[in-house]
């Protein structure tokens, strides 16, 4: 939304901060991620939404630099629209500026809170917030406000100190209840038909666990 | 005696359909049950066959056969979508009989049906259905067969054929036959014993000819020289072409016939009692 950018622009000018450059810590993190030319992993997906009962699903995820992430599964799987882009390349697709809001603590780690704001209307998100662990040079959390699909709040957990890719990704989002087609022949005695029309949003989540990760790097 | 019913009564609500009815039937005997429509013939037969319960009275069946009684109640009930052979197969299998194709063929021939016919029974004439019904009634060699109005719907040839079969059953196989009709002609010369039922009561019983004669209002005489007979002209007589309907006075018919033939030399070719149905169906004066 352009009005948001105006406010940020005024704050930046008013704060005297230089908002045209990419934050150096973020650049360092980006360089580290750019050294990864690809990876393959088995991803375990566990959906946590109150009105959805889905068994744990498995899929194979593969990434090659410069290409979109590929996910393959024999079963029906629901892939979160955000969360598997571990290099956050989607944020860099269009020109953006960053704003460092200073140090904060998250998951017992000291992080830099960095806002990423696209400078063009073409991007599919309006603003993103990153919690960057500058000492381990890893993203611990990201919050991406998409234009069409709401806000995704993603928490990354790592097992080893040097690990570039997270072992667990917790993606939270807002989701409305299920719309029930009246002709769907199911047991519908408990259906709240009024609630169906303007159902309130609630929080939903999907927990992704990467197993058997195989990384390829620039030599 | 194979079958005996004693003092059988049956009511449907306030309407009493059978009042203390008693009858018997012995091996090789043909017993007739005659009565107007609604007299209770079918109800009595249903009670004898165990389809309807009796309110009072008793039934006695002296037979060691696995199927003491066979019968047809009103029209024969058959599976119209099955052939004659299949109908026989169904009715024999349900009573545990395992008959061969040859047996079925023999049974069909016995009642005058062609064993080569395989079309469904719904295509059969009433006469053929009656024959098949009789074949089914005779499955498992019952000692007594009950036939309820078996002549209805049959042409004269069919009636004659059925009468012959009944005689064969009784005469040659020693089966007791209990047969009902509302038609005197059909039963008259077939039965050994006759029961007359009206309004649920047996009102007359006895040897068939005796029962019929007791209700005879006249005699139809056939012969030569009848019109000139002095004996006949002294009695109440109606002359017809070739015959004379005689209404005798108190003298027995035998004596009148004797006079005609011996004294007047009249050649008699026939003397048929004309049973008055109204009289027949009236209760006998005790």
């Amino acid at each position: 939304m352009s009005w948001k950018k105006c406010i940020w622009g005024i704050l930046l000018l008013g704060g005297g901060l230089c908002a045209q450059e990419v934050d150096p810590d973020l650049l360092r993190w980006k360089e580290r991620m750019d050294s990864i030319t690809g990876f393959q992993a088995r991803v375990r997906m566990e959906v946590d939404i109150s009105f959805v009962n889905m068994p744990v699903k498995y899929a194979r995820v593969s990434y090659r630099k410069g290409e979109a992430i590929r996910i393959a599964s024999e079963d029906f799987v629901m892939i979160p629209k955000r969360g598997l882009d571990l290099t956050l390349n989607e944020l860099y697709e269009y020109p953006f500026m960053t704003l460092n809001l200073g140090k904060v603590r998250f998951a017992d780690r000291e992080c830099e809170m960095i806002k990423v704001i696209p400078t063009t209307d073409k991007s599919d998100y309006s603003i993103a917030t990153l919690w960057l662990d500058t000492s381990a040079l890893r993203i611990l959390r990201s919050q991406i406000s998409t234009k069409k699909n709401g806000v995704f709040d993603i928490v990354y957990r790592y097992t080893g100190r040097q690990q570039e890719l997270p072992s667990e990704i917790n993606v939270e989002f807002a989701v409305s209840g299920v719309k029930i087609p009246l002709r769907f022949l199911g047991k519908d005695t408990q259906v709240d038909r009024e609630g169906m029309k303007g159902s309130t949003e609630e929080k939903g989540a999907i927990i992704l666990q990467l197993e058997d990760v195989q990384l390829s790097r620039i030599q | 005696m194979i079958l005996s019913a004693r003092q059988v009564s049956k009511s449907y609500g306030a309407r009493q359909v059978l009042k203390e009815v008693s009858l018997t039937c012995s091996e090789g005997e043909i017993c007739g049950l005659i009565g107007p429509n609604g007299a209770g013939k079918s109800t009595l037969f249903r009670i004898l066959m165990g389809l309807v319960s009796l309110d009072s009275g008793s039934l006695d069946l002296r037979s060691k056969s696995p199927k003491p009684l066979g019968g047809i109640i009103e029209k024969p009930a058959l599976y119209g979508y099955l052939s004659a052979r299949e109908n026989l197969r169904v009715f024999s299998r349900i009573q545990g009989l395992t008959l061969t194709a040859k047996h079925y063929g023999a049974l069909m021939e016995q009642v005058g049906l062609s064993p080569d016919r395989h079309d469904p029974v719904r295509n059969y004439s009433m006469g053929m259905k009656q024959r098949l019904g009789l074949a089914i009634a005779l499955l498992n060699n019952p000692d007594c067969v009950i036939l309820d109005e078996p002549f209805s719907g049959l042409d004269p040839i069919g009636i004659r054929a059925l009468q012959d079969q009944v005689r064969t059953l009784a005469g040659k196989r020693g089966i007791g036959v209990l047969i009902s009709s509302h038609n005197l002609v059909e039963l008259g010369d077939l039965c050994d014993r006759l029961y007359v039922i009206n309004q649920g009561e047996i009102i007359r019983e006895g040897p068939a000819q005796k029962v019929l004669q007791a209700a005879a209002r006249g005699y139809l005489l056939f012969g030569e020289g009848l019109q000139g007979s002095r004996v006949l002209n002294s009695l109440h007589v109606e002359y017809r072409k070739g015959s004379a309907l005689l209404f005798p006075d108190s003298r027995p018919i035998g004596a009148i016939l004797n006079e005609l033939t011996r004294e007047e030399g009249v050649t008699l070719r026939g003397c048929i009692p004309q049973t008055d149905l109204r009289t027949l169906f009236e209760k006998e004066a005790s």
């Binding site: 109150s50 009105f51 959805v52 009962n53 889905m54 068994p55 899929a59 079963d75 029906f76 799987v77 629901m78 892939i79 979160p80 629209k81 069409k148 699909n149 989002f173 989701v175 409305s176 299920v178 719309k179 087609p181 002709r183 769907f184 022949l185 199911g186 047991k187 519908d188 005695t189 408990q190 159902s199 939903g204 999907i206 | 249903r46 066959m49 389809l51 319960s53 199927k67 009684l69 066979g70 047809i72 109640i73 029209k75 024969p76 009930a77 058959l78 599976y79 119209g80 979508y81 299949e86 169904v90 009715f91 299998r93 349900i94 009573q95 545990g96 089914i136 009634a137 499955l139 498992n140």
Partner: protein, 276 residues
């Protein structure tokens, strides 16, 4: 008794109307499968609409398992109606043709005859259902392939293909008990009413009444659990995320008891009644 039962089955399968009934079941099944396919996409679109904001989907939910589930839903009304009409005809046609009387003129007892009719009805019902289930599974898997099953039952539940197959089979088995119940009821109605058209009307009313009573709240736990209309949709319980096995077994046992009771009523009345 064995001879009587075999004869009953012989008569059933020699009648044209039996094959009309089987054809009707197939036509119904084909119709439901075709309409399930065309409406299935629409249904899934609506069901998953809100989730599409947060997720991309991989895999096709419009598969054999969903089609089979939609066919299973025909158990609500269509199959019991066909069954009740056909099964009641096993007896009403014999009353009309007076062949009940003809059979009882042979050395066959009333209770043996009527018990063999009930057993034949049971076998016929199971046969029709086996044909329905077998053809549905075969055709669906051949045409639409396997995949996850999505069901809306107190939330959106997804079952993996193998689990879905297991639940669908158990659901058909449980649903078969309901079909047997309706078949037995229709035969009992035939004993009580004897005339074909009246029996069909009352059977249809029974089915409609049961379907309506199923949705009614009786404000009593006992009635809401064990009153017979409430037992006719037990198969649906197999699609809860956690299958309440104990409840299903108890409900099936109760429905079995009701089935037996209706059969006993029919046998008792048939035994007592005169054949006029």
């Amino acid at each position: 008794m064995r001879n009587l039962l075999l004869t009953e089955l012989f008569k059933i399968f020699r009648q044209r109307k039996t094959y009309y009934a089987i054809a009707a079941v197939f036509v119904l099944e084909a119709f439901i499968m075709v309409s399930a396919y065309y409406q299935g996409r629409e249904i899934l679109e609506v069901l998953l609409e809100n989730l599409k904001e947060s997720f991309e989907f991989r895999g096709d939910l419009l598969n054999a398992n969903l089609i089979i589930y939609l066919v299973l839903n025909s158990f609500w009304f269509h199959i019991p109606l066909i069954l009740m009409i056909v099964v009641s005809g096993f007896l009403t046609s014999e009353y009309k043709d007076r062949t009940v009387e003809a059979i009882l003129l042979q050395p066959v007892s009333k209770w043996q005859l009527i018990v063999s009719k009930y057993l034949a009805a049971l076998i016929f019902t199971v046969f029709i259902l086996a044909v329905l289930v077998g053809s549905t599974f075969l055709l669906s898997y051949a045409l639409f392939g396997k995949g996850d099953l999505v069901v809306f039952l107190e939330g959106l539940s997804f079952f993996e293909s193998r689990e879905a197959l297991r639940r669908l089979i158990l659901a058909f088995l449980t649903g078969s008990l309901t079909m047997v119940f309706y078949a037995v009821v229709s035969l009992t109605l035939a004993v009580l009413l004897q005339e074909a058209t009246v029996t069909w009307i009352v059977a249809a009313l029974f089915l409609i009444g049961t379907t309506l009573l199923l949705r009614l709240d009786f404000h009593s736990d006992l009635l809401n659990t064990y009153f017979f209309p409430k037992l006719t949709d037990t198969w649906q319980s197999l699609f809860y995320p956690e299958v309440p096995n104990g409840v299903i077994l108890r409900k099936n046992a109760a429905l079995g008891a009701y089935t037996f009771l209706f059969a006993l009523i029919g046998i008792w009345v048939f035994q007592k009644r005169d054949i006029k």
